[in-house]
Amino acid sequence: MKKFSKIARDGIWQQNPALVQLLGLCPLLAVSNSFVTAFSLGIVTVLVLTISNVVISIIRLILNEDLSLTTQITVLATCLILSDIALQAWYFELHHRIGLFVALIVTNCSLLSRAELSSSSNPIISSAIDGLMMGLGFFWVIVLMGTIREGLGSGTLFSNMHMLLGPAGKNLEITFSHNGFLLLVLPPGAFLSLGFLIALKNFLFDNRD
């Protein structure tokens, strides 16, 4: 149990893929300009990481070591193709916005290195937990960035939720200002807000130790 709590702490905070390892930056920065896209991509990442970690660790039991990298990439790409097709079928409008970045998760070094690390020594359950926690670590950062950038940048929150929830989502939009700080929604805002988030994390880290 102690081991699992360490895995959880590593994934969500200490070795956070987005804030500490700086991996998966392209999807993180590109998609976080609104809450709904950030949230959806976060969910996809959590699912893909967990499922692919489990599949890879099962395959590893019967596989020659030399083939591991190729297998990992293929398993990951398969999971991503499945989620891509699912998005296209049920959330077409959303797929149009985040489709490219769903595919790009595959080159995300974090997925590769973690899958390697966790499934080489750990049994299936702990690599599943590892994938889940790494995914959640990525998830909270991307959702936080989506909230900050949409809230300050365009002065709204939960806009366009109908892309995710259907017609019911239309009423969820909260508007607190009609003229936001546009820079935050534009590409430079992504870099700046992540920079300040990392600085904030460093600040909290330094004070605790």
Binding site: C26, L29, A30, I73, L104, T107, G195
Partner: protein
């Protein structure tokens, strides 16, 4: 031809790969510590990017589309990129052994080019925008030049930055992000140049 040059200029400045589309950030933050290695990475990636755009176009239009196998695109493109990087490494090793021995010094490692989302991203954008063969090549080449430009600029800025005093919490990744943000802001100035 003028169409190709328009694509080239737009991808270098207006839709710059790194600062506007966020592709290829891992090598930007990982490898630009040294000015020399930045140039090495830029040349290596430029070569692979252009080649990958051409070959992925051929595969897409000759194999995947006619056979209705578009859903395999992602797997095929990744395997293609991995093999292209490996092949170019083998060719360099066979023909230019001395240059190959120098590669690690320049910071060119094979995984770094493979994990570069830029290569896969450009191949996928080519398909999404339905570029023709020549357009794909120009797009790949323009993306590569845009990437090289930003990488070298960034390495130069970092060299300057080492001499300045940075607040403790901003040291490392945070200040790099903010530098990239300002660079991106500068590139926003090119918006509308294409029209």
């Amino acid at each position: 031809m003028s169409d190709g040059i328009a694509i080239l200029l737009t991808t270098v400045f207006v839709n710059n790969l790194v600062t506007i589309q966020f592709l290829g950030l891992c090598p930007l933050l990982g490898a630009s510590q040294k000015f020399d290695s930045a140039i090495g990475i830029a040349v290596g990636t430029a070569f692979v990017l252009t080649l990958a755009s051409a070959v992925s176009y051929i595969i897409e239009s000759c194999i995947l589309s006619p056979l209705d196998l578009q859903y395999l695109r992602l797997v095929i493109f990744i395997i293609l990129i991995v093999s292209l990087v490996r092949i170019s490494e083998i060719i360099i090793r066979a023909t230019q052994p001395r240059l190959h021995a120098l590669l690690p010094i320049f910071g060119i490692s094979v995984p770094l080019i493979i994990t570069n989302c830029a290569v896969l991203g450009v191949a996928l954008i080519n398909v999404r925008e339905a570029h023709s063969f020549l357009q794909s090549i120009f797009f790949g080449f323009g993306a590569a030049i845009g990437f090289a430009l930003v990488l070298i600029l960034f390495a130069a800025i970092q060299r300057q930055q080492r001499a300045s005093v940075v607040p403790k919490v901003f040291r490392g990744a945070a200040i790099n992000m903010i530098t990239a943000g300002l660079l991106s802001l500068a590139f926003m100035g090119f918006t509308g140049m294409g029209q």
